[in-house]
Structures are given as structure tokens and as C-alpha cells.
């Protein structure tokens, strides 16, 4: 049971990290390699508010979300100037931005590792397992954020327009959807989600100016697991990945963790490149 609790917490953490990346990539086709650095930025904002002003971690979420929303809009303004082939060029530009952000963070925050204190643990007799308040926070935040985005995408007119943009930008444009506005909204919402993930990333792992590649990689992997534009799939993908990793470590050993994950990822790309929860027979449906 403890393994399951840990797996769910880890998976929720993965999904939270991937949410902003997946939304921006789905709607705008921007392959944001600076995603991890933006998460770190949110983490640093939270860290200094937490350590410097003594603000509770949960209260650092709004300022982090606001700041990252702004950062994402700046990113959008930069990427608007990128020419075709858009996907490839955004890859190069965001890679460059990641380097700039890494070095700027090194100068501003120094190379020290930063950590937001460890959480309290509880023993749940019904589950016969320990659970920490960090795990609970990450699980609930991830669940709420995913459901909110899912609701936005499925139940609102804006969501329909966003989904139409994900499926076919040109067709969406012909249908009268202002694709540029959709892009702006995706960047803004994605930025806010990154800002939501940053503080919880800092609370779950640690902050270092050059630690952005891990969350970026995680976001890419979970997005591939889920399939483009499938928000519910992100959470399920995160849980699945978390469970696979935890079970691998527990039954086979820590050294197998990355290998098993990589093998599953390769298999997925070969057998179901559109994502684990995609419905190939029903194109256009959002899970």
C-alpha cells in the first residue's frame, strides 16, 4: 500500500510538471525546452518568499503563477517572431533561452542548492502507510489543476476553440477562430500552470540554476505518454509512469529505473505514437 501511495504522489508530481508544457505544445506547437527553467523560476520565487518573508508555501502559489504568466507572455512575444519551420525553430530559440535563464539564475541565485523544508508525515492506519503533507498537496493540486484544465477544454466555448486549434490550426482559422488569440491564451494559461508547479517542485526536490533539464525531460515524457491535448491523460500518464518507476525500483533496483522507463517510452512511440489514451478511431475527441 505504501508503494501505491508513493507511486500516486510521484505520478501526480510528474503530471503537474507536464501540464503547462503539454498545453502550450498542444495549442501552439511550441516545443519549449526552457520549460524546466521556468519551473525553477517559479520555485525560486516561492523559495525566497518562503524563506525571506516566512510566507506559507501555499500562499506563494499565486505570486509564482502571476510571475510565470508574465514570463510566458514574454516568451510568446519572442516566439511570435519565429519563422517557419516553426517547431524546429522554437526548439532552437527555447534552447537558447534555457541557457540564458540558467546563467541568469546562476548570477542572481548563485550555484547553491535550495530546498523548501521537509513536510510533516502522517500515518494513515486505514491504508497502513505514511503520507506527507507535501505528497497530499502535490496530489490535490495536480488533481485540481488537471480537472480545471479538463473542464476548461471540454465544457467551455473557449475550450472548444482551443481544442479546434490543437486539432488543425488552419481549419480552426477557417472556422473563424482567432488562432493568435488562442496561442496567447495557451501561453498565459500554460505559464500560470508552470507557476503552479514551480513551488511544489521546489518542495518536492530542490532548486539549482542548472536543474531545469530534468523537469523538461519529465514533461516531454509524460506528454508523450498522454498524447497531445489530452489533459486527463496527463494525470493518468503521470500515475502510470510513477507506478512503473516505483515498482521497478522496489522489485528490480534503482539502476533499472531509467532503463525500464526508456524502454516503455520507446515502445509507446513505436506502437502508439499518438499517446496511450488516444482514440484513433475517433479523431477529434479529447479525452
Amino acid at each position: 500500500m505504501q508503494l501505491l501511495v508513493n507511486s500516486l504522489a510521484l505520478g501526480s508530481f510528474y503530471a503537474l510538471i507536464a501540464l503547462g508544457f503539454a498545453l502550450i505544445f498542444g495549442v501552439t506547437r511550441t516545443f519549449n525546452l526552457a520549460h524546466g527553467e521556468l519551473i525553477l523560476l517559479g520555485g525560486y520565487i516561492s523559495y525566497f518568499l518562503f524563506k525571506g518573508a516566512g510566507i506559507h508555501i501555499l500562499w506563494t502559489l499565486p505570486p509564482s503563477m502571476l510571475a510565470l504568466l508574465g514570463a510566458a507572455l514574454v516568451l510568446h512575444a519572442i516566439l511570435r517572431r519565429v519563422r517557419e519551420p516553426y517547431e524546429l525553430n522554437t526548439l532552437v530559440v527555447t534552447f537558447g533561452l534555457a541557457l540564458v535563464l540558467q546563467n541568469a539564475m546562476l548570477v542572481i541565485f548563485t550555484a547553491d542548492y535550495r530546498l523548501i523544508g521537509h513536510g510533516r508525515q502522517f500515518f494513515l492506519e486505514s491504508l497502513d502507510a505514511y503520507v506527507s503533507d507535501t505528497q497530499i498537496t502535490v496530489f490535490l493540486t495536480s488533481l485540481l489543476a488537471t480537472l480545471s484544465v479538463h473542464f476548461l477544454m471540454r465544457k467551455t466555448f473557449l475550450g472548444k476553440a482551443l481544442r479546434a486549434t490543437i486539432q488543425d490550426r488552419e481549419a480552426a482559422r477557417l472556422a473563424g477562430i482567432h488562432v493568435d488569440h488562442m496561442t496567447l491564451i495557451a501561453f498565459g494559461t500554460g505559464g500560470a500552470l508552470i507557476g503552479l508547479a514551480g513551488p511544489l517542485y521546489a518542495q518536492t526536490t530542490y532548486l539549482h540554476p542548472f536543474g531545469g533539464s530534468e523537469p523538461t525531460l519529465l514533461a516531454i515524457i509524460v506528454s508523450i505518454f498522454a498524447g497531445v491535448g489530452r489533459t486527463r491523460g496527463l494525470l493518468l500518464g503521470g500515475w502510470l509512469l510513477g507506478t512503473i518507476e516505483s515498482a521497478t525500483v522496489f522489485f528490480l533496483g534503482s539502476s533499472w529505473r531509467e532503463m525500464v522507463s526508456a524502454m516503455i517510452l520507446i515502445g509507446l512511440l513505436l506502437l502508439r505514437p499518438e499517446g496511450l489514451w488516444s482514440e484513433r478511431s475517433k479523431p477529434g475527441r479529447e479525452a
Partner: protein, 394 residues
């Protein structure tokens, strides 16, 4: 402007020079360290230790009246960049010696180039045995050695902790892998059951499943050959999962004031290892140690740690060798510097430094420390202990 200059520096776009500058022909030494990238924290600590040693020497008149200039280069924590930077220092700047380096994957390629150009290289933090074992590189020296960590750690476990079973977790880096294998072999020989022996990738975000296994196996002590950030996550998850261990020992990354600062109460009673820290110094070097600690704080506005001391010691060794060379009328040729290093015997706060025929330090030996009320207290070996162990730990 400041930001641009800082970015240029931190990106390794240009050389960082220090201390030299005067009109008389100076002596140029080269430094290669990970000033940016994943290993930037420790690379910068070594860099500051080297700068401090050079500035200290220059404040005393340099070497035979000649100022020392250090050209610092950033390898960005990448071996291929380390090679390029070393080539540049050796070929273009024709430095009289090389110093610095953190982790074997970055030190090894530089040591090969030092041999190629016949220039002495004193590595600040290198452990891997194969780097010196059975190789004939008369230009490579290092101030640390794996035996100086494995021996005190194992004797601590065997004689003090005496656990029925241990888990060894090590990272997929050459030095840590060798460390893990050495510790495992030694503990098995002494009758301690190594129940879990696992490798992990540095930077892993989660250890909860691993810790669950320790609980299931009833492991009493955990030796983690990970680095500073790995301990941050691992220790936090140990606390969060309420895992009870007789001892948690982290040879790298725990015995740092900054680790204690970040972890707070969660760091209490953990065991770490260090070659030096303020208040933990080689007997007979107390005055020099305090002078270093105070001088460093004044110069850099921060507390020196064991990694800083490794940088300082390596630079001291190179400077002493070059000084000896010039004093005896030498020409600062690589062969002469190398010969002088081989004959070197100096006392530093970290160790009595003399090299064996392979370039390894003869007397390097770390101490086991325990974090007690936010302080690092030396607890093993007995001749270096500055306090008693607090149990239960952690």
C-alpha cells in the same frame, strides 16, 4: 552591464584572471573547474579556494618576487569542454601548471593533456583509483584519494555503528561506483551483511520506493555515495517516511554548513565526512586553519568548507613546487615542476601533503562528522574526534 558581464563570466565566454597583473614577468598557472553546469556549486568552491591560495601567495611577495597569475576556465561540467579549455591553457597560454578539477570524469581528460604537454597538474577533487593505478603519468597529482574516505568510513561502521546489515547506494559516476564497490567488499569481509547494493542516476527526484525496500529488509545503516542534492531529497524522504536507521552516512555532500542550513532540523544526527571544516583540522594546524577560515570569510563573505580547502590545498601544492623550482634555479619547465611536486612535503590544515610515486597523496584521510545542534562535530577516528556521538542517529 553588470548582468552582461556576469553572464559572460558564468558562461565561460572569457577567461577569468586573478591576482597577477603586475608589470614584472608573472608566473601563469591555469585552472579548470565546473563554474557553471550541474557541478557549479562545488566547482565554484574549489575556484575560490584556489584564488585564495594565489592571493595569499601574492600578498607575501609571490614566487621569488614574481606575481602569480591564475587563468580560470569553466568546463561547464562537461568533459569535452574541459578538454578544449585545457588545450587552450596549455597551448595558447603556455601555463606553468594546472590546478583544479571536480569529479573524475572531468579530471581524467585534463590529466591526459597534462601528460601530453609535460605540464604538472594538481587535481583538487579526484578519487578514481584507475586514474593513477598502473598508469605512467608523471605529471598528474591529486590531493585526495579514495582510500582516505573508504578506510575511515568502514572502520567507523565496523567499530562504532556495528550494524547487522547495511544498504549501499551509489551514483553512476566513476568515483562513486568505485567507492560503492570498495565499501561493499570491505564490509562483507568484516562480516556485515550488505543487504541492498544499488546504483542510481544523480539527480533522481524520488527515493521513496528505495526507502520502502530498506524498511522491508530491515536495513540498519545506509551509506549513500550520492552528492549534495541527492542527500537533500533522500534525507527529506527518510524523515517524511519516518524511516528509522541506526546511521545515515553520506561521504559527499552532508558535511557542509550549507547542507545543514538548507535541511535545518532534518539534518540532525546525520553522519558525513570531510577532510576539513572550521574547527576540524589536522592537529598542529589549528592556527593556520583559523587564519584560513577567517581570511576566506573576509575575502568572499562566506564560510569555507571542505571542498574549498581541497582547492586551496591543490593550489598551495602547485605554488610550493613552482617556488622550489625557481629557488633552485629551475626554469619552470614541466619536468622540473613535476619533480618538485614529487618531493613535496608540506603541512596544510587538510592533510600533510606528500605524493607517492603515482601522484596520490600519502596521508590523506577524512574524518567522520555528525551534525549536532546545527554544528559539524568530528566523531571518528578517535584521534581526530572532537565530541561524542549522539544516538539514536539519525
Amino acid at each position: 552591464m553588470f548582468l552582461v558581464a556576469s553572464l559572460a563570466w558564468s558562461s565561460g565566454l572569457g577567461p577569468v584572471t586573478a591576482a597577477g597583473t603586475v608589470g614584472s614577468p608573472g608566473i601563469t598557472i591555469g585552472e579548470i573547474d565546473p563554474l557553471t553546469g550541474k557541478l557549479a556549486k562545488h566547482g565554484q568552491e574549489i575556484h575560490e579556494g584556489i584564488l585564495y591560495a594565489v592571493e595569499e601567495a601574492n600578498s607575501k611577495g609571490g614566487i621569488q618576487g614574481r606575481k602569480i597569475e591564475v587563468i580560470s576556465r569553466d568546463d561547464q561540467s562537461l568533459p569535452d569542454v574541459a578538454i578544449n579549455q585545457a588545450e587552450d591553457l596549455l597551448y595558447r597560454y603556455k601555463v606553468s601548471g594546472l590546478v583544479g578539477g571536480y569529479v573524475d570524469s572531468l579530471v581524467a581528460p585534463v590529466s591526459e593533456l597534462a601528460a601530453k604537454y609535460h605540464v604538472p597538474y594538481v587535481a583538487s577533487a579526484s578519487l578514481q583509483r584507475t586514474l593513477t593505478l598502473g598508469r605512467n603519468n608523471p605529471f598528474f597529482f591529486r590531493v585526495a584519494h579514495l582510500d582516505g574516505i573508504v578506510e575511515p568510513l568502514c572502520s567507523f561502521l565496523e567499530k562504532v555503528v556495528r550494524p547487522a546489515s547495511v544498504a549501499i547506494l551509489y551514483t553512476a559516476t566513476p568515483g562513486s561506483t568505485e567507492f560503492g564497490q570498495e565499501v561493499k567488499a570491505r564490509l562483507i569481509r568484516s562480516g556485515i551483511d550488505v543487504k541492498v547494493f544499488e546504483k542510481f542516476r544523480p539527480g533522481s527526484p524520488d527515493f521513496s520506493a528505495f526507502l520502502l525496500k530498506l524498511r522491508a529488509d530491515g536495513v540498519e545503516a545506509l551509506v549513500c555515495g550520492g552528492f549534495f542534492p541527492d542527500h537533500l531529497i533522500l534525507v527529506r524522504q527518510i524523515r517524511e517516511q519516518n524511516l528509522s536507521l541506526k546511521a545515515y552516512v553520506g561521504p559527499w555532500g552532508v558535511a557542509y554548513p550549507s547542507f545543514v542550513e538548507e535541511m535545518g532540523a532534518a539534518a540532525e544526527r546525520l553522519f558525513g565526512m570531510c577532510a576539513w571544516n572550521q574547527g576540524i583540522t589536522l592537529p598542529g594546524t589549528e592556527t593556520a586553519s583559523e587564519a584560513f577560515a577567517e581570511g576566506f570569510r573576509k575575502r568572499f563573505g562566506k564560510t569555507a568548507n571542505t571542498t574549498t580547502m581541497h582547492g586551496y590545498t591543490s593550489a598551495r601544492a602547485l605554488i610550493a613546487a613552482l617556488e622550489g623550482d625557481l629557488k633552485s634555479g629551475g626554469s619552470l619547465k614541466g619536468e622540473d615542476g613535476s619533480r618538485r611536486l614529487r618531493a613535496l612535503d608540506i603541512l596544510t590544515p587538510m592533510e600533510r601533503l606528500a605524493f607517492d610515486e603515482k601522484g596520490d597523496p600519502r596521508h590523506y584521510r577524512q574524518v567522520v562528522v555528525q551534525i549536532q545542534s546545527g554544528r559539524l562535530v568530528a566523531v571518528h577516528p578517535p584521534d581526530r574526534a572532537g565530541g561524542h556521538i549522539q544516538w539514536p542517529a539519525p
